[in-house]
Amino acid sequence: MSKGRFGIHGGQYIPETLMNAVNELEEAYRFYKNDPAFNAELEELLKNYVGRPSLLYYAEKMTKDLGGAKIYLKREDLNHTGSHKINNALAQCLLAKKMGKTRVIAETGAGQHGVATATAAALLGLECEVYMGRLDCERQALNVYRMRLLGTKVHPVDSGTATLKDAVSETFREWVSRIDDTHYVLGSVMGPHPFPAMIRDFQAVISKEIKQQMLELEGRLPDAVIACVGGGSNAIGAFYNFIEDKEVQLIGCEAAGRGVDTKETAATLSTGRLGIFHGMKSYFCQDEYGQIAPVYSISAGLDYPGVGPEHAMLFDSGRAQYVPVTDDEAVEAFEYLSRVEGIIPAIESAHAVAHARKLAPTMSKDKIIVINVSGRGDKDVAAIARYRGEDIHD
C-alpha cells in the first residue's frame, strides 16, 4: 500500500506532474513539525494573532432548555477571521514561506478558508489567489469582498457545478501549471498525502484544548463531541485527541440538504460509495458509473461530494458515527443558538448544533456534550433571510 493511508483510504492519486511537489511538501512538513523554531513561531501567532486558546463555553440556557446533557460550546467562531480555518491556513502559509514559496493558492467553499488564507498571506507577505465556485461567490459575496480587501485575487470558477468540488479541481489545475514558487493551501483534511495528515495535525489543537479545558472545568472527559463534516477539518480537529478515549462518543454531522432520500444532498457517508477522487481513496457521492454527483446543501462549506480519508476510516471502524442533518434542521438550529445563547453560528456549525438538540434530551443531566462551533454566522445572515423569504442586502 502506498503512503498516507488511513485503513484502505487516502493515498496519492494525482498526476505525475504534481508528485514531486507533494513529496517536497511531505519532506518539509516532516522536518518542520519537529522544528522547535517553527513550532514556537506558529504558537506565538496562534496565541497573539488568532486568539487561541478559544473558549470552551458552558451553554447554560441551552442546557436547561433541552433538559438533558450539559452542553459546552467550543468557540472556534471567536478565532480571528471567524472560524477554525485560520489554524490550518496560518500554519500552511508559514510552512510555505519556510519552503521558499512566494505565492499561495487556495480553494474555498463558504469563503472561510479563502478569507483565512488571504489573511495569513497578507500577514506573512505572500501573494495569494483563491478559486471559488461562481455560485458560492454569489451566496457568499461578503467573503469575496473580504478576500479582495486582504489583497487576494478571487477567481470565480465556472466549470462543473460551480461549487466547492470545482474550486478544488481548478486549484489543482492551477497548481499543476505553476509549482516552483506556489504552494496549494488545501483547506480541509482531504486531497493527496500529506495534506490529510498535515491539516489534521494543524487542526488537532481544537481537541487538545477541549481536553485540557474539560479537565479543568469538569475534571473529566466529555461523553460526546459533535462537529459538522464537509471535507471534515473541524471535525477531525475536534475528534483527534479523543480517538483513543473510547468512552468519548464522536459524532460527525453531514449536510443532508433536502434529505438523504433526495438527490439534493451532500451526505457522503450516508449516501456515497467508495471511490478515488481529488487525490484520495474515500467515500464519494457518485452515480453507478463513478461520475461524481452534483451535491447540494444550503451550506456552501459542506457542499462537497467527498469526505476526508481519516473520517472514512473512523466510519469503517465505527469509532465515529456520522449523521445526516437537513437544511431545515440546520436553519432552525442557526436561529435557535442565536436566540437562546446570543451566538450566531456559521450555517455549517449549525448542523452540529441541530444534532445536539436531538441528542441532549436523550441523555441524563450528568452527561456532557461538546459542540464544535467551527465558525461564526455573520456571512450567512443574508442567505438565511432569503431562506425565510426575506430579501436583505448582503
Binding site: 496519492q12 492519486y13 498526476p15 461520475q291
Partner: protein, 263 residues
C-alpha cells in the same frame, strides 16, 4: 491481440485522442476507422469523467458534452466491440481512476481486454499508486501506460524501469490544451528513459501543428494530440469526420518528416 509496440514498429507514431460520445457515439464510431485510415498509429479513446482534473477547458467541455448526451462506460464498450474488427491498430482507453474503480477494476479490465483494448492511461494514478490496477492489468494482458513530466527528474528511472506499452511524456507543466511553444528538454527526458528500458516514448500536451509534431518526433517516438482534435469536433459537431481526417493526415505527415535524417 494487437500490441502497443505495433504502433511504433513502422516509424514515428501519430496518436490522436478523442472523447467517446462527443458529440455522440455514432460520430465516435465513424471517427475511429477514419482516423486509422488517415494514418493514426494508435488511438486514445477517452471515457468521459465528470471532473477531469488533468484537462484544460477544451477536453473538460468534451467530457461534459459526452456525459450530457447520456454516454456510459457500458455504451462505450459496446461501441468498441463493433468498431474493433475494422481496425489493425491498437486502441487504448484514457480515463480517470474513479471510472475504472467504481465499475469494478476487474470487471472493467476484463471487458476491456475482451473487446480488444491494448492499454489504459489513467492520469490520476501515478507510479506510487500503480498497484491499484497493475496486477489486474497483468492478469488480462493490458498495458498500464505510465507518464513522466517535466517535474519528474529523478523519478524518471524508476518509472521507466516498470513502464509497459509506451511511455507518455508530458511536454509541459499544466493541464491539456494547445500551446504555442514547448520549452521542455524532451530529448533529454527520452534519453534518460532509454538508458533504463528500450520502450517507445510518445510526447503529449500542447501539440497542435504538423511542425510541432515533427519537432517532437525528432526527439521521441511519437506525438499525441488531443485538444486540437477535440476543438475540431466541437466546431463541426456531427460533420467533424472529414476535417478531423484531414487534420490527422497532416499531423501524420509532420511525424513522417521527422523520419528523414536531419543534416
Amino acid at each position: 491481440m494487437i500490441k502497443i509496440a505495433d504502433a511504433f514498429a513502422k516509424g514515428k507514431a501519430f496518436i490522436p485522442f478523442i472523447t467517446c460520445g462527443d458529440p455522440d457515439l455514432e460520430t465516435t464510431e465513424k471517427l475511429i476507422p477514419a482516423m486509422a485510415a488517415a494514418g493514426a498509429d494508435l488511438i486514445e479513446l477517452g471515457i468521459p469523467f465528470s471532473d477531469p482534473t488533468a484537462e484544460g477547458p477544451v477536453i473538460q467541455d468534451a467530457n461534459l458534452r459526452a456525459l450530457s448526451g447520456g454516454v456510459t462506460t457500458d455504451k462505450i464498450f459496446d461501441m468498441v466491440r463493433r468498431v474493433r474488427p475494422q481496425l489493425s491498430i491498437p486502441l487504448v482507453f484514457m480515463t480517470y481512476a474513479n471510472v475504472i474503480y467504481s465499475y469494478g477494476a476487474d470487471r472493467f479490465l476484463k471487458t476491456a481486454a475482451e473487446i480488444g483494448i491494448s492499454g489504459i492511461i489513467v492520469p490520476d494514478v501515478p507510479f506510487e499508486e500503480k498497484q491499484e490496477f497493475e496486477p489486474i492489468c497483468q492478469k488480462y494482458g493490458i498495458a498500464q501506460i505510465s507518464m513522466i513530466a517535466p517535474t519528474s527528474h529523478d523519478r524518471i528511472r524508476a518509472i521507466a524501469e516498470q513502464a509497459n506499452g509506451f511511455l507518455y511524456c508530458v511536454s509541459s507543466l499544466g493541464v491539456t490544451g494547445t500551446r504555442t511553444s514547448i520549452t521542455t528538454d524532451i530529448g533529454g527526458m527520452v534519453k534518460l528513459v532509454k538508458e533504463v528500458q528500450d520502450i517507445p516514448c510518445a510526447v503529449g500536451f500542447g501539440i497542435s501543428t504538423p511542425e510541432q509534431a515533427e519537432s517532437m518526433c525528432r526527439q521521441a517516438d511519437g506525438a499525441i494530440v488531443g485538444s486540437a482534435i477535440v476543438k475540431l469536433i466541437a466546431k463541426y459537431g456531427r460533420d467533424c469526420v472529414k476535417p478531423v481526417t484531414e487534420y490527422v493526415a497532416s499531423m501524420k505527415e509532420g511525424c513522417r518528416k521527422a523520419e528523414t535524417v536531419c543534416l
